[in-house]
């Protein structure tokens, strides 16, 4: 990395206004400071020396504009991130699902497969997967395909294995859910086929279903503007059943959002909320 934040505000505006017309998702929904860093990272990775070069390419090639927008999204970091949250989920939330005939779960706006794989594994371990409907949605076709045919590299596997041990102790291994092929670990098809994969734009479309028992929306709203975040959370809130659970990242808050008063914390430290 040569520099950070070296594009000018003018260059930033040129790029975002071009994407507004050339791409399929408006960057207006993104948080500007983080977006600026994403753009710069994209330019470095793909060898664009100036915003003008990038703009020119996007104007000429609409599919590139979509590729660029995909690059602005941030993949999840690892499986079973913040292990204590998964412990709480297993201990305090899953027992409530015991008497439900169907458990509907939504992992919206997936970017990478970590969160989805984690929930599928923990449901399987708790004998809940068979009666669960797990919706995995993403606004991009490629994001859906990546999650469907999930692969994990060795480095991420090592980090995730440590998290897994922190959740489940020595009771089983994360590798049990993967098949090693060359340098990658391929996620169990038996588990991933239980998920319902849908292309879905969280910003513009109605929820893919209603009556969810649980929505995992951890660290996704970090990258959205305040307005976009409010809109998303309102949509997610509406799609939950009364008594349904809503989980956000450890570093996130519902403070300042209208729904704050309609959620009660189920675990304050792990940011698990319950709709009242």
């Amino acid at each position: 990395m040569e520099e950070l934040f070296n594009i000018s505000e003018n260059g930033f505006r040129k790029i975002t206004s071009t994407v507004r017309t050339a791409g399929s998702l408006d960057l207006i929904h993104f948080e500007p400071v983080l977006l600026c860093h994403r753009i710069e990272r994209f330019m470095q990775l793909h060898g664009y020396a100036s915003p003008e070069m990038l703009v020119e390419k996007m104007v000429r090639d609409k599919s590139f504009a979509d590729f660029f927008i995909e690059g602005m999204r941030v993949p999840t970091t690892e499986m079973f991130r913040d292990p204590q949250m998964w412990v709480e989920l297993e201990k305090n939330v899953f027992p409530k699902f015991k008497y439900e005939s169907v458990v509907k779960i939504w992992v919206p706006d997936i970017c990478g497969d970590d969160e989805l794989n984690s929930i599928l594994i923990i449901l399987e371990r708790n004998n809940l997967l068979q009666k669960s409907m797990v919706y995995a949605t993403c606004g991009f076709e490629r994001g859906i395909e990546d999650a469907k045919f999930s692969q994990t590299d060795l480095k991420k596997m090592e980090i995730s294995k440590e998290n897994y041990r922190n959740v489940f102790g020595d009771n089983g291994s994360l590798e049990d859910y993967f098949t090693k092929r060359d340098k990658v670990f391929v996620f169990s098809h038996q588990l991933s086929e239980k998920a319902i994969f849908l292309k879905h734009n969280l910003m513009t479309e109605a929820p893919p279903d209603m009556g969810f028992n649980l929505i995992l929306f951890r660290n996704r709203a970090l990258f959205y503007s305040m307005q976009a975040r409010k809109n998303c959370i309102e949509k997610l809130y509406q799609s939950l059943i009364g008594g349904g659970y809503f989980i956000i990242g450890i570093g996130e808050t519902l403070r300042g959002l209208e729904q704050t008063t309609s959620f009660v914390p189920n675990s304050k430290t792990e940011n698990i909320f319950k709709k009242i």
Binding site: M1, E2, E3, L4, F5, E31, V33, L34, C36, H37, R38, R41, V74, P75, T76, T77, R81, D82, P83, Q84, E162, N163, N166, N219, A221, L222, F223, M226, G249, I250, G251, E252, T253, R255, G256
Partner: protein
């Protein structure tokens, strides 16, 4: 108004605690600490800093407004950005210099947001994180201070910053404390 950003890794903890212990409760500027830490250890760090500090110390939540005289510690496994609108943004983006939180990210965002009002201080550490952030602070007209490598428990980080940026001061821990105490004057 000034904005103080401090970065450190291995060997920086005693300097940070010494610094927090030496400031009085009327210190008028916000301070942002980006210290490398274990990603799954979420408790203990901020509590240890609070024991030493008369200023309030907290791990911010995303979009938290910045307050004067408050110390913000980058949470484990998140990058911490500071913004022009005086809020803090957190991010789970890729690691930078094998680090999340990354000092380069915090420093560079502070440089971009606050320019000449930014004071960056880089302490002991074992990788090169912070060097580009220091350069960004200098280029934005801010003040770049590096702990003397001779005094650092691990000198890699400070040496890299001195090489990358034309820093304003190379100071001992005691001199950094003194510099900060005089800032409000």
């Amino acid at each position: 108004m000034l904005y103080v950003v401090i970065g450190g890794s291995a060997g920086s903890f005693p300097v940070v605690t010494g610094l927090l212990a030496s400031l009085d409760k009327n210190f008028p500027f916000p301070m942002f600490l980006c210290l490398h830490r274990l990603k799954n250890v979420r408790t203990g760090f901020v509590e240890a800093l609070r024991l030493k500090s008369v200023l309030p110390v907290s791990e911010p939540y995303d979009r938290e407004p910045v307050l004067r005289g408050h110390v913000y510690l980058a949470p484990a496994n998140y990058h911490m950005y500071v913004t022009k609108s005086e809020t803090i943004s957190l991010s789970t983006e890729e690691v930078v210099n094998h680090s999340r939180p990354s000092i380069d990210i915090t420093f560079s965002s502070a440089a971009r947001s606050f320019g000449s009002k930014c004071v960056g201080i880089l302490l002991s550490g074992a990788n090169k994180d912070g060097a580009l952030g220091m350069k960004a602070i200098k280029e934005a007209g801010g003040t770049a201070i590096v702990q003397s490598p001779d005094e650092c428990q691990v000198r890699t980080m400070t040496t890299a910053a001195i090489k990358a940026a034309d820093v304003d001061y190379i100071l001992t821990g005691a001199q950094i404390i003194s510099y900060l105490q005089k800032l409000k004057e």
